[in-house]
Amino acid sequence: MEYVRKLMDRVSVEGVKIELLNTAYGNGNTFLARLDPRTLFLWYLYFGIAPWFIHNEVLLLGMFLLLAVTTMMSRVSPLIIVILCLGLLSQAGYLFIVSWLFGGGGETIMPLLKLTMKLSVISMASITVFCSMDPEKLSDGLLRIGVPKQVSFGIAYGYRMLPSLVEEYHHIFLSFRLRGVAPSRHGLLYWRSIVYFLKIAVLSFYPLILSIAKRTRTTVEALEAKGFSYAYHSREAKRIKLSYMKFTIRDAVFLLGSGLYVVLLYVLAAQFSI
């Protein structure tokens, strides 16, 4: 019971909020976080896409190792890792069961493993990149490479609103609990309680949407007064805003290092095969 309580504390709405914020903003001091966003975009361009077209096991395994290291370097919250593993395992497990039911056998394991490997490489690349850039950096980076200002602003503002939204959602959720009736019996495998909680979890979104709509009015007026739409047409403002971005030796080392490693992998892959 005590263990369940502790777990509940972790997965409570508050807990989720804290994990989310930490994932978004909490990793500002790692090596990767100090890279220029454009470096990370370039890097992601290769590691996020290339694995789809690679079928060589040695290459994939090598990339997997590299990305496992970069993921660790970006100090991701354990929650994200757990979610990743769950996703990969359930995906692979489900495919294996399906193929086995439809006449596949031991020989299906290998291709499935390969697919899982590809997926995990791509997922880890995404985690590395997006956990190393806080939303600010991400939005500035996108702006720099020519994504419209609304999109980049939306990312930054969305994250800034996140804690208040979660908090408000929590309050509404509690409002339901403070006035509602919980099922008197939990039912088999707690199904009654689960249905009850799922129901209010969904219902709580409606009041939330309405109250956000109301809040936004002040925000939009404030944006107007703070010259947001004025800056939209001003190249000057964009230049000043992004002037802090610079490629440094760090970026070069990172890109060159990764490049060399990949080249080495190709050499290895040409000589050995599994």
């Binding site: 930054a156 800034r160 409002s175 109250s211 703070k226």
Partner: protein
């Protein structure tokens, strides 16, 4: 129109430096039927500190939005007339241009913070306007508003007061000449409220900013503002220097504005005495005395200092010695601040028996600091004197808050007999912050609540008030210690089940609206529990809260006062034994506040225990029969209002401020202290009559 013309004439003769000129402006919001501004004309002097007052819907905020161009550029309604700001016609310049002359801080300032970190937000506007040195400008703004938080701190880590400062920093970052602040103190505790006004004063006096506040609290207006504009039905009725404006008692009252308590007291006294002297011809020789004592309307005091001087002058006009001996109502008692315990006994003994009085003495003695326990004990040693003085009071103070006295009687009985409703024992509570540290909110809190307790939970922001109330509802569980509500341990009981006994009313009523109409919200609890005949019950409740007309409207779209009434109705419909209210009077104009206070006073007829967390010291003084002061997660005082408001050190420590009238009666050395204006007027008048009867004045 007449007033408008006089304003214009004044402009022609003296020609001051007007920073804003609003000329005959009429504005209708798109889709609305009636205009919000209806031919308003107003001038504002450069370097002035202006308060805009007026009832709900009088057009205060709309007026202010014409100054930074949001009207007519952003809200494209029907706009007539002209507005000139710092020499710019607002019709010809857009919001972006005008915003460099006018900074605006909203009432819901949290929504105005756009960027995630402190410095980022403060320098957002300079960046948008393309200033190369935007970071320095942001830093300068932060220094200007005295925000000492780490510039890299995330805004959700800031306290309410700091967020307000940051919103202000964002507004001053472009170095505008005019600053508009919509209800600066509505969401702040008393100490932060004063801090903000001190800050505004500095911006006004040292940096030459023209400050415009929309404000309901006349006590702040009297102390800080220079000029007052009264809005009514979309027009500026007048614009007057503050000393004149706050004495327009009739006009203020008809706009639901209440003058400072000290002004009310002086006016009240004048009225009583005018009535007395008019009605009693045989008192001819004394009239001179009354005339001397009460100068005419123009010189009522508006600030505490003025009031102290004003009433002291009156005191000096009539020696008080003989009457002090007679009734002990007004005495310039030395060191009276410390005699809280004794005062408590005296007041209570006005109605309770000696036994009850000693009970209270024991209670307040136990709760008070050691020095005070001595005082209380001293009181208990001489019961005869107490009874005499108590009787005198009972005879003379016919109209003083009888309610409170009765409540005190109940409290004294309850302390000995009834079973506790809520029992909190050594409760500790903490939560995880974003930086994954645990923040301790409650250290070791123990308290017992019984039937008849009307408890005010006070203390500055972050003292742990809300956390404590949430623990009682069962939505959060104590880390150690336990809370038992009517025999149910909250740690082992679901909040749904506790809800049959306890109701918690949120600080922000909007978070209680989970349905799309008030009626559905009120009936939610009853319907979920399939209560027989709930429809009739809901009808009755809606009626008694004046919501019948509004029952099919969405709660979110109501005005602040209506929302608050609706949230109370939702709570009462749950038919609880315990009702917990979080800041029930925050963000309300004074008239609505009075309305809510009235509803609160009715609550104890249905409910066994009411606990209110509040910054509103007038509410505390008028309503509560027990005050719990919290500070940094601990209860530092649990006692009567005498033991709290009589202890200046305690108030200072907890960041509280006594109501103005209480402070005045303290400065005048009145004993016992007066908690309401009526009480003050009554006591003062009685003492004067006493003095007059003895012919002191001849």
């Amino acid at each position: 129109m007449y007033q408008d013309r006089t304003l214009l004439q004044e402009a022609e003769t003296t020609e001051p430096d007007w920073i804003a000129m609003i000329d005959n402006v009429t504005f209708t919001y798109p889709g609305a039927e009636a205009p919000v501004l209806n031919g308003v004309s107003l001038q504002i002097k450069r370097g002035d500190f202006v308060a805009v007052i007026g009832g709900n819907g009088s057009g205060k905020s709309t007026l202010c939005k014409t100054l930074n161009g949001l009207i007519p550029h952003y809200y494209v309604g029907d706009f007539e007339g002209s507005v000139q700001v710092n020499g710019l016609q607002t019709l010809e310049h857009d919001v972006a241009r005008l915003s460099r002359h006018v900074g605006y801080v909203y009432q819901d300032f949290e929504n105005q913070l756009i960027r995630p970190t402190v410095l980022d937000d403060a320098s957002f506007a300079p960046l948008n306007y393309g200033f190369e040195d935007y970071l320095e400008r942001g830093q300068r703004a932060l220094r200007l508003v005295d925000l000492t938080a780490d510039p890299k701190e995330f805004i959700w880590q800031l306290s309410g007061g700091q967020k307000h400062q940051l919103a202000l920093a964002g507004a001053v970052s472009l170095d505008p000449d005019i600053l508009i602040i919509d209800e600066p103190v509505a969401q702040l505790d008393p100490r932060h409220a004063r801090d903000i006004y001190e800050l505004l004063r500095r911006l006004n006096e040292q940096h030459g900013k023209t400050i415009i506040v929309i404000e309901h609290h006349t006590e702040f207006i009297a102390e800080y503002c220079k000029q007052v504009v009264l809005m009514d039905q979309g027009r500026a009725v007048w614009s007057k220097p503050v000393e004149e404006a706050l004495l327009e008692l009739e006009q203020l009252r008809s706009s639901q504005i209440y003058p400072p308590q000290v002004t009310q007291a002086a006016a009240e006294l004048a009225k009583i005495q005018e009535r007395d002297s008019a009605g009693m011809d045989d008192r001819e020789p004394n009239l001179g005395c009354f005339g001397l004592g009460l100068p005419h309307l123009a010189s009522y005091p508006i600030t505490l200092d003025e009031a102290a001087a004003y009433f002291q002058r009156l005191q000096q006009l009539e020696p008080l010695e003989p009457q002090k001996e007679r009734s002990g109502l007004i005495g310039i008692a030395a060191g009276h601040v410390a005699d809280a315990g004794a005062v408590a006994i005296k007041e209570a003994s006005g109605i309770s028996s000696i036994k009850d009085a000693s009970n209270i003495a024991a209670v307040s003695g136990a709760n008070a600091a050691t020095g005070k326990a001595g005082m209380a004990g001293e009181g208990a040693n001489c019961p005869e004197r107490r009874v005499t003085s108590g009787n005198t009071e009972a005879n003379t103070d016919v109209n003083t808050d009888a309610n409170t006295d009765v409540d005190m009687g109940i409290n004294a009985d309850a302390n000995t007999d009834a079973a506790p409703i809520i029992e909190a024992k050594h409760v500790r509570f903490s939560y995880r912050t974003v930086s994954r540290e645990r923040k301790v909110v409650l250290r070791d809190v123990s308290a017992t609540f019984r039937t008849g307790d009307l408890v005010a939970l006070v203390g500055n922001n972050g003292a742990g008030k809300s956390s404590f109330m949430r623990l009682i509802t069962g939505v959060t569980k104590p880390e150690s210690g336990r809370i038992v509500v009517k025999g149910m341990d909250t740690a082992a009981t679901a909040p749904e089940q506790l809800a049959n006994t306890v109701t918690y009313i949120y600080q922000n009523p909007e978070e209680m609206f989970i349905e799309d109409s008030i009626r559905k919200d009120v009936e939610f609890f009853l319907k979920a529990r399939r209560v027989e005949g709930y429809k009739e019950k809901v009808d009755a409740i809606l009626e008694s809260f004046g919501l019948t007309e509004l029952q099919h409207r969405d709660g979110r779209l109501l005005s602040g006062g209506q929302q608050r009434r609706a949230s109370l109705a939702i709570g009462v419909a749950m038919n609880p034994s315990v009702i917990l209210l979080d800041e029930p009077t925050a963000n309300l104009d004074i008239a609505t506040r009075k309305d809510i206070t009235r509803l609160l006073k009715q609550l104890n007829r249905h409910v066994e225990t009411v606990i209110v967390a509040t910054h509103d010291m007038q509410l505390v003084a008028e309503w509560a029969n027990r005050i719990i002061v919290m500070h940094q997660g601990d209860i530092i005082r649990d006692g009567t209002r005498e033991s709290v408001f009589g202890d200046a050190g305690l108030l200072e420590q907890a960041g509280l401020r006594a109501p103005q009238i209480l402070e005045l009666s303290r400065r005048l050395g009145m004993s016992p202290l007066s908690y309401t204006v009526d009480e003050f007027a009554q006591r003062w008048n009685e003492s004067r009559k006493g003095a007059a009867r003895h012919g002191v004045c001849t």
